[in-house]
Subunit: 216 residues, 2 copies
DNA sequence: TCCGTAAGTGAACACGTGTGCACTCCACCA
DNA sequence: TGGTGGAGTGCACACGTGTTCACTTACGGA
C-alpha cells in the first residue's frame, strides 16, 4: 500500500482503539447503572468493569459528570430516533396512537439501558446530568408541540396550550416507559396491559381536544 | 410529687430525649438530601449534621435504608394530609380543580423537603426506599380512583379505566410538584404560571370524560 | 440510696474512593 | 528510521466510608 492509504488506515485504527475503550467505559457505566443511581457510581468501578486502570479514565473524560453528560446525549439520540419513527408513520390520526405506542415499546425494549438511565436520572441526582436531561426533554416537548399544531383541531390553539398538552403527553409516556422497565414479571401479557393503558391515556387526551375552549 | 407522676414525667423525658435525636437524624438527612440523592448519602454525614457520633446512629436505625423508609412514611403522611384537605373541599366540580391545585401548592411550599424527597427518590435509587414509595403511591392512586367514582359521569366506568385516569392525574400532579420545586427564579409569578398550567391539564382531562366510551 | 440499662463516646479496623506522578509501550508522522 | 505524543500502567497518598468494641454517663425504677 502507498503512504496515503497506510496513513488513513492506521490513523483510523488508533482512533478506533480510543473509541473502543471509550465505548467500553460508556457501556460499563450503563451496565452498572442498572444497580444504582448515577450519583453513587464510582470511577473505579466503571474502569474496572471496562477493563482499564482507574487513572486511564482521564484520557477519555475529565470527570464522571462528563461521562454522564455523554451518556445523556447518547440516550437522547435513541429517544429522538424513537419519536422520529413514530412521527413518520403516515396513518390517520385514528391509528396513529396505537402505532406510536407500539413503536415506543419496541424502542424501549431494544435500548432498555438508555431509557432506564434517562427516566431514573431525570429527577434523581442534582448534578449536570439532571440539568442536561431536563434541557433535552424541554426541547423535545417543544418539538412535539410544533408537531401537534399540524392537527386540525389544534391548529388555532395558543402555543402555551400546545405546550401544556405536549407536556402532558411526554410526562404520561415517560411514566409508561418506567412502568415497562419496572414490570415484574416481564412477560408479553404484562407489556400488553401497560401498552393498552398508555393507549387509553393518549385517547383520553385526544378526546378532550375538540371540546377545549382556548379562552381562560 | 408522688411516685406515679414522677415515673410518668421522667419516663416521658427519657423517651423524649431519644425521640429528639431521632428527629435530629431525620431532619439532618432531609436537609442533606437537597444536595444529593439518597443513595449517595453517608451515615457519617447525617450523624455529623445531627450532632452525634457515627456509632450512636445504630441506637435509632439499623441501617440507612431503615432511616430512608422512615422518611418515606413521614413524607407520605404529609402527602395524604394534602389530598385529604383537597378532597374535603365542598365546592362543585367546577371549582374543585382550582381549589385542589391551590391546596397542593400550599402544602408543597410548607413541606418542600418531604415533597422533594418523594419525587426525587421515586425513580432514583434502587433500594427499599423506592419500593416503599412505589407501594404508597400505588395505594394513593387507588384511593383517588375510588374518589373519582363518586362523580356523575364516572359512575359507570370500569375500575380499570378509573385507575387509568387516576394514574394520569397523579403523574401529572407529581410532575407539577417537581416543576414547583425546581422553579428558578422562585417568585409568585412563576408559581402562578405553573399552577395555571396544572389547572389546564386537569381541566383537559375532565373535558374528555363525558365523551369517553368505555368499550375497547 | 443504689444499680441496671441504654444513649452517646472515641479509638480502631479494613477497605474503597479520587487523583497525582513517573513510567512503559507503540502507533504514527516527518 | 528515528522521534514524538498519547493510551494505558502501577504505585502512592490522603481521606471518607461502615462497623466493631470497650468505655462513660446519667436517667429512672427499686
Amino acid at each position: 500500500m502507498n503512504g496515503r492509504t497506510l496513513n488513513l488506515v492506521t490513523s483510523v485504527t488508533r482512533h478506533e482503539r480510543k473509541e473502543r475503550t471509550r465505548r467500553a467505559l460508556l457501556d460499563a457505566a450503563l451496565g452498572l447503572l442498572a444497580g444504582t443511581g448515577f450519583g453513587s457510581l464510582s470511577l473505579r468501578e466503571v474502569t474496572k468493569q471496562a477493563g482499564i486502570v482507574p487513572t486511564a479514565f482521564y484520557r477519555h473524560f475529565s470527570s464522571m459528570d462528563e461521562l454522564g453528560v455523554a451518556l445523556v446525549n447518547e440516550s437522547m439520540r435513541t429517544l429522538r430516533a424513537t419519536i422520529r419513527e413514530a412521527r413518520r408513520d403516515p396513518r390517520s390520526s385514528a391509528g396513529i396512537i396505537g402505532a406510536s405506542v407500539r413503536t415506543l415499546h419496541e424502542h424501549v425494549r431494544a435500548h432498555e439501558d438508555h431509557f432506564l438511565f434517562v427516566t431514573r436520572e431525570r429527577h434523581g441526582g442534582a448534578g449536570p446530568v439532571r440539568q442536561a436531561i431536563a434541557f433535552e426533554l424541554k426541547l423535545l416537548t417543544s418539538e412535539l408541540a410544533v408537531d401537534l399544531a399540524r392537527f386540525r383541531y389544534l391548529r388555532d390553539w395558543t402555543t402555551e396550550d400546545l405546550h401544556m398538552v405536549a407536556d402532558l403527553i411526554v410526562t404520561a409516556m415517560l411514566a409508561t416507559v418506567l412502568e415497562l422497565l419496572e414490570a415484574r414479571p416481564r412477560d408479553t401479557e404484562t407489556d400488553e396491559r401497560i401498552l393498552r393503558t398508555a393507549e387509553k391515556k393518549l385517547r383520553l387526551i385526544t378526546l378532550a381536544v375538540p371540546s377545549w375552549h382556548p379562552a381562560t
